[in-house]
């Protein structure tokens, strides 16, 4: 009886040790791969950061109107953000190489899924980028135009236009990533429709007197002699 128990324990321990021994090289390989990736990533990070600071990446981003990126970046430095993202991507790559050493089949499946999803991510990033550029351009156009027309709430109008475009771009990007599904479309429709309805009600009911007075002033102004700020040319 005890001999049988002893045999069973020995076989179990042997299987465990064999299994562990078969996985151990893979684990060691993964640790080595991660360590090498971390070292390589760190070197790349340092070099990239130095290069980006050399070309005054942060100032250029600010000049190009991507101040929002600086707000979201660690230490308000987009260069640091880029360097960190590159570091983590390299580390992730090292981890995938390490996982492939332990279980090539599952890693290949995982890698295939990730790679198949990558184009969606790329398109979503592109959509966000285009949205940011369009939002900035339209925001500035509205701001300058409104100031030249002497509209007191010029900044509010500009920020409103900018965020409308950004919300639209974000909704498009999320839809492309299949995040949110119909909930997102519904929420966006309700939000947009709500804004338009709120504006209509505000103008139609709340501000009807103000609108009437404004229109009356405009009509009266047409009959007045034009007060030119200056005779040009």
């Amino acid at each position: 009886m005890w001999d049988q128990v002893n045999d069973a324990l020995r076989q179990s321990a042997s299987r465990l040790l064999t299994g562990f021994a078969s996985v151990l090289p893979g684990v060691v390989a993964m640790i080595v791969a991660v360590l090498i990736a971390a070292l390589f990533g760190w070197v790349i990070r340092v070099l990239l950061l130095r290069m980006l600071r050399g070309v005054r990446f942060d100032e250029r981003m600010e000049h190009l109107g991507f101040g929002m990126v600086a707000e979201m970046s660690p230490g308000r430095s987009p260069a640091l953000l880029v360097a960190r993202v590159v570091f983590w991507l390299i580390l992730l790559l090292g981890l995938l190489v390490g996982l492939a050493a332990i279980d090539p089949t599952r890693t290949a499946t995982l890698l295939g899924t990730v790679l198949a999803y990558l184009p969606n991510v790329a398109v979503a990033i592109l959509l966000l980028g285009i949205g940011a550029v369009v939002a900035r351009f339209l925001g500035r156009s509205v701001l300058i135009g409104a100031v030249n027309l002497q509209i007191q709430s010029a900044k509010l109008l500009s920020v409103g236009v900018k965020w409308m475009v950004m919300v639209l771009a974000t909704a498009m990007a999320l839809t492309h990533l299949s995040i949110g599904g119909t909930v997102l479309t519904l929420a966006f429709g309700i939000l947009f429709g709500g804004i338009v309805l709120a504006l209509s009600l505000a103008v139609g009911l709340g501000s009807k007197d103000m609108v009437r007075k404004s229109l009356e002033r405009q009509a009266a102004r047409r009959d007045e002699p034009v007060e030119t700020p200056f005779q040009h040319l």
Binding site: L143, Q150, F230
Partner: protein, 425 residues
């Protein structure tokens, strides 16, 4: 390529074979003024004190208000009249009230083409909205080309001290500082050219650009100055610019003028970077005319417009202007109306900074041009408030001082133009 259609009317067909001087009158929907303008030109041709054969070329951009039909009322005696059509597209027709004639560049090009076909020695362009010319104006405009070997004759008007704000505040000082010649009205609608200059200009690709189409007068002036052409100016008398549209919004004409100036600075950067100081040019004709018409200027509106912009446009201005200038503008916005003055050095640097922003594309060019308008309003308000009680001579003297400041600040522009990354004031 522009298609020039020479349509000589029957009564002048045989006469218009050759001419020494061609006078172009561009029109577009100018039924109210075309007869007066053509008659004035016709009369001036008759009074010309010299032996020269004239031809008047009426260039019309397919007017729809009967402009062409009205010209039938004119009986040509001193100079035969030829009509040419110049192309004008739908966008140009809708353009704002910068000048009386939209796409004037196309009209001028058509007139130049006609002048070449007629074998002329000189060609003058006359603004159809001119109200009153001094006697002998044609002589002053054309004779420098015919008898004094000048290539380009710019106009010199007798204007109210506050008239021509864009010219006084930006076009004149910047042109003078950049090219080193004191052309008082570089963007006047009336000018004369030698055939030598026309031949050099006609091969340019720039004719098809929006800048030349809308501000051909300024382009020709800077083209002549940068080319080393012999430039003079002629006293033409009183001129009021008629508004074509309602309101007095100067943002659009200002943007077009700035675009032409900045575009020229970019095109001829190798020329103006070598120029230091400025020198006067010869003025032909009598300069004793005076413009007594009242000019309505609203200082308060200009200052309000600037203050609103100062509160709202910081994110745009900080991309164009250095911190020192932004601080000056902040101080300026807090000043009361009687003390509101834009210092000359600050103004000169602002104009230079916007020239640089346009060149370096620090932000969209359209934004650069339109973000300048409130600053210009501030300068006009300051200028008017300061010279409210001044005589014309005093205001000219004040303007001259400002122009000298533009010249002394020019190294700032050159430094930032050459080394944009190294220079941080």
């Amino acid at each position: 390529m522009t298609q020039t259609l020479l349509e000589s009317s029957a009564r002048v067909q045989t006469a218009v074979m050759t001419a020494d001087v061609v006078i172009g009158v561009p029109t577009y929907n100018n039924a109210d003024t075309v007869v007066h303008a053509l008659q004035a030109v016709e009369a001036a041709c008759g009074d010309f004190a010299g032996n020269a054969a004239f031809a008047i070329v009426h260039a019309d951009g397919a007017s729809s208000d009967g402009t062409v039909e009205r010209t039938a009322e004119i009986s040509a005696t001193a100079a035969p009249t030829t009509r040419v059509a110049y192309p004008i597209d739908a966008v140009d027709r809708m353009s704002g009230p910068y000048r009386g004639v939209p796409a004037k560049g196309n009209a001028v090009r058509a007139v130049f083409e006609s002048a070449r076909q007629l074998g002329a020695k000189a060609c003058a362009i006359v603004d159809v909205e001119v109200e009153h010319f001094v006697p002998g104006w044609l002589d002053a405009l054309v004779r420098p080309v015919l008898a004094h070997d000048r290539d380009f004759v710019a106009p010199y008007y007798a204007r109210h001290k506050f008239g021509g704000a864009i010219n006084n505040g930006v076009a004149y000082p910047l042109t003078r500082a950049l090219y080193g010649k004191r052309v008082r009205y570089p963007m006047g609608g009336d000018f004369a050219c030698s055939m030598r200059l026309i031949d050099r200009c006609m091969g340019e690709r720039a004719w098809d650009t929006d800048v030349v189409k809308s501000t051909v007068d300024l382009w020709l002036t800077t083209r002549a100055l940068s080319d080393g052409a012999r430039v003079a100016q002629a006293m033409l008398g009183v001129k009021h610019q008629a508004w074509k549209g309602p309101g007095g919004d100067a943002a659009e004409p200002l943007a077009k003028t700035l675009a032409a100036l900045f575009d020229g600075a970019e095109r001829w950067q190798t020329v103006w970077q070598k120029v230091r100081g400025s020198e006067p040019i010869q003025t032909f004709g009598s300069v004793d005319a005076a413009d007594d018409a009242p000019v309505m200027v609203s200082v308060r509106r200009g200052i309000e417009s600037f203050r609103l912009a100062q509160r709202n446009l910081d994110e745009i201005w900080k991309l164009v202007l250095p911190p020192r200038t932004l601080l000056e503008l902040k101080k300026l916005a807090s000043l009361a109306e009687p003390a509101f003055r834009v210092p000359d050095d600050v103004w000169a640097r602002i104009v230079y900074d916007f020239t640089l922003a346009y060149h370096q594309r620090l932000l969209s060019r359209e934004h650069v041009l339109s973000a300048f308008a409130p600053l210009f309003a501030a300068w006009v308000s300051s200028f008017v408030a300061e010279l409210h009680d001044a005589t014309l001579a005093e205001s000219e003297e004040r303007l001259d001082r400002m122009c000298l400041r533009f010249e002394s600040e020019k190294p700032y522009l050159i430094s930032r133009w050459r080394w944009p990354d190294r220079f941080s004031p």
